[in-house]
């Protein structure tokens, strides 16, 4: 078996809330192979977002390890972790989180600007990506001039801009109607199949869960079980 692209080992996260420790992750062991298209489902407050933030190197575990591409991110300093997020991970948020002052083009270019990609290169790449998500003619539109589904497409283009291997999406269809939601799911599936991107989604929507290859059910800070819809080759 190949080395997993994401691996968590006995992952614990404890928050202090109101002076009392609140154990949110209670030993999560998860392996994700490159090219997987998977989802995590579970009740509200079970710690799904907390887990995804650990995988995305946004937060550090209380104990346990997170390996991305075989690298233990506990061993990286803050700047190295930022670089990892910038190049290896693409975040897609429930509320899109586009920068309202920047047009679609500017939003898609942002991670590349952070990476120090030259102006000409990133302009070209952002155009390509906007074309890929079906918004080639909306490059100069501000987020406020776009529908929710269109904004989420811009956010997907942004997440892809530095060509990361891992895409993390927390409730990305949670704020969209079901038709738009399924269009977005088709787009993700296409990116998974055509470009081999690894997707880890968090969802409340069983319909979304069922479109993935593997569905993990999460409860009270631990993985409760998993269902495979498609056997990996």
């Amino acid at each position: 078996m190949t080395k997993p692209i994401v691996e968590t080992i006995d992952l614990h996260k404890t928050y202090m809330s109101g002076g009392r420790p609140l154990e949110v992750l209670k030993g999560v062991d998860l392996k994700v192979e490159e090219g997987e298209f998977m989802a995590i489902m579970g009740p509200s407050g079970s710690g799904k977002s907390t887990l995804l933030n650990m995988i995305g190197a946004l937060d550090r575990p209380t104990s346990g390890e997170v390996h991305i591409n075989g690298v233990n991110i506990n061993k990286l300093n803050d700047n190295q972790v930022a670089d990892l997020r910038n190049r290896e991970i693409g975040f897609i948020f429930q509320f899109f989180n586009l920068i309202p002052r920047m047009d679609a083009q500017g939003n898609v270019e942002l991670p590349m600007a952070i990476a120090g990609v030259s102006r000409g290169d990133r302009h070209k790449r952002a155009k390509e990506l906007l074309g890929l998500v079906g918004l080639g003619d909306r490059a100069d539109h501000k987020p406020s001039q776009l529908s929710g589904g269109e904004q989420q497409r811009v956010a997907i283009a942004r997440a892809l801009s530095n060509n990361p291997h891992i895409l993390l999406a927390d409730e990305l269809t949670g704020n969209l109607d079901s038709r738009t939601g399924s269009e977005i799911m088709h787009l993700l599936r296409r990116l998974n199949e055509e470009e081999g991107k690894t997707f880890i989604l968090i969802t409340h929507d069983p319909a979304v869960g069922q479109q993935t290859d593997r569905l993990i059910s999460f409860k009270d800070g631990i993985i409760e079980g998993e269902k495979k819809f498609k056997d990996l080759i």
Binding site: N53, G56, L58, D59, D78, N79, A82, D83, L84, R85, N86, R87, F91, F93, N97, I99, P100, R101, M102, G106, L110, P111, A113, I114, A115, G116, R158, N162
Partner: protein, 397 residues
């Protein structure tokens, strides 16, 4: 992140909050306009005073009756022939001459009415005041009585292309002494070169008549307005002044170019520090405004900062982004402020008839100062932004 991109993003950030940016800009701008204006004006004043003092001559001394109290108020006394004798015997005094000043004469030329300052001086005046040079004609001689030497602007008023007074012309002047109007016809024997205004006397806009003539016309008796003296050399001006003060006691005050300059500079210095303090306070207020606006804007953009960090922005990138916003505010506010300051100085200068000193360097310094103030004000909010935990920032609604 590349500095150009940081700048573009910061600029974009400011564009998105035009109104608050404008408020901050106005804050900085007022402070900078005040500072630029004040410095231009006070430096202009200094230049102009220094210019006047130079005209006065570095080895000259003016002996005024009475004492100069605080605030340059003259108190009592007068000078007479005996005083002149005393001063002339003081060591290092090369020469001294009495002057009758603060008199007005009226006359009419070609139907135009003039009222001008009249000085009563001796032949020695021209020798002791190095700045009186004749364009035409001659100095007074002992036997002169009904003659006059006129200033450059009297011979040819500034608004005319042709002289209205020429050598040999006769001018009938009138003076009111003790409510009685007296008339006197004077023959023009000399026309002075333009000297600019000189400390104690504006020679260009006045006329000079022989001392005896002035004494008779204005009935001044044995009293003179002041004496003009000259020291043997520049090096002994202070010794001469000390000697005169010692002999005259509190009946006279001696002014030299250096002491006058000192006086003026100390007054200007006080003005400058008071006004500079006010301008400084307005910049501090502007700085507090920036701290306030930026703190609010960091709070508002908490989620955006979280997003940026999720996209891979480093703490330093976020810090630089906000500091760049502060820097831009300072730079734009400072530049516009300096521009307004020049304008303000120009307008005020034209009102008080002063050539202000508005150097490019001053504007540059003001901009640097404004940028420094803004960056200092932005430091704390920018640090808070850069130090945010990305997860908490993203949870922020």
């Amino acid at each position: 992140m590349n500095p150009v991109d940081t700048l573009l993003i910061a600029f974009n950030g400011l564009k998105g909050r035009k109104f608050r940016f404008a408020l901050n800009l106005v804050g900085i701008l007022i402070g900078c306009a005040a500072i630029t204006g004040l410095i231009s004006i006070t430096e202009g004043l200094q230049d102009s005073v220094t210019g006047q003092l130079n005209v006065f001559g570095p080895s000259n001394l003016i002996i005024m009756p009475g004492e100069i109290g605080s605030g340059m108020t003259m108190t009592g006394g007068s000078l007479n022939w005996r005083d002149l004798d005393i001063v002339s015997r003081v060591d290092y005094v090369k020469g001294v001459t009495p002057i009758i000043a603060n008199k007005i004469a009226e006359y009419t030329i070609n139907g135009r009415y003039f009222a001008t300052d009249v000085y009563g001086v001796e032949r020695a005046y021209k020798e002791l005041n190095p700045n009186t040079e004749l364009e035409e004609g001659r100095n007074f001689v002992q036997s002169d009585s009904a003659v006059v030497i006129v200033g450059a602007n009297i011979a040819q008023p500034l608004d005319l292309d042709e002289p209205i007074v020429e050598l040999g012309d006769r001018i009938k002047i009138a003076a009111t002494v003790d409510d009685v109007e007296k008339e006197l016809t004077l023959r023009v024997i000399g026309i002075l070169k333009e000297t600019g205004s000189s400390f104690g006397a504006n020679l260009d806009d006045s006329i000079a008549i022989p001392l005896k003539t002035a004494q008779q016309l204005f009935e001044t008796g044995n009293e003179f307005s002041y004496f003009l003296a000259q020291a043997d050399s520049i090096d002994v001006v202070d010794e001469a002044a000390g000697g005169i003060e010692e002999k005259m006691g509190d009946r006279a005050t001696v002014i030299t170019a250096a002491s006058a300059q000192e006086q003026v500079e100390s007054i200007l210095g006080t003005i400058q520090s008071v006004l500079g303090g006010i301008a400084g306070i307005s910049l501090v207020v502007a700085g507090v405004g920036i701290i306030n606006t930026m703190t609010v804007s960091v709070m508002e953009r908490t989620k955006e900062i979280g997003t940026m960090k999720a996209l891979g922005a480093k703490s330093l990138d976020v810090l630089m982004m906000f500091l760049t916003e502060a820097m831009l505010t300072g730079m734009i506010g400072g530049a516009i402020g300096a521009g307004f300051g020049y304008l303000l100085a120009g307008i005020i200068g034209s009102f008080i008839d002063l050539t202000t000193s508005s150097s490019i360097m001053l504007g540059f310094e003001v901009v640097v100062f404004a940028v420094a103030t803004s960056i200092a004000s932005g430091l704390y909010p920018a640090y808070r932004a850069s130090n945010m935990n990305p997860v908490e920032a993203l949870r922020h609604e």
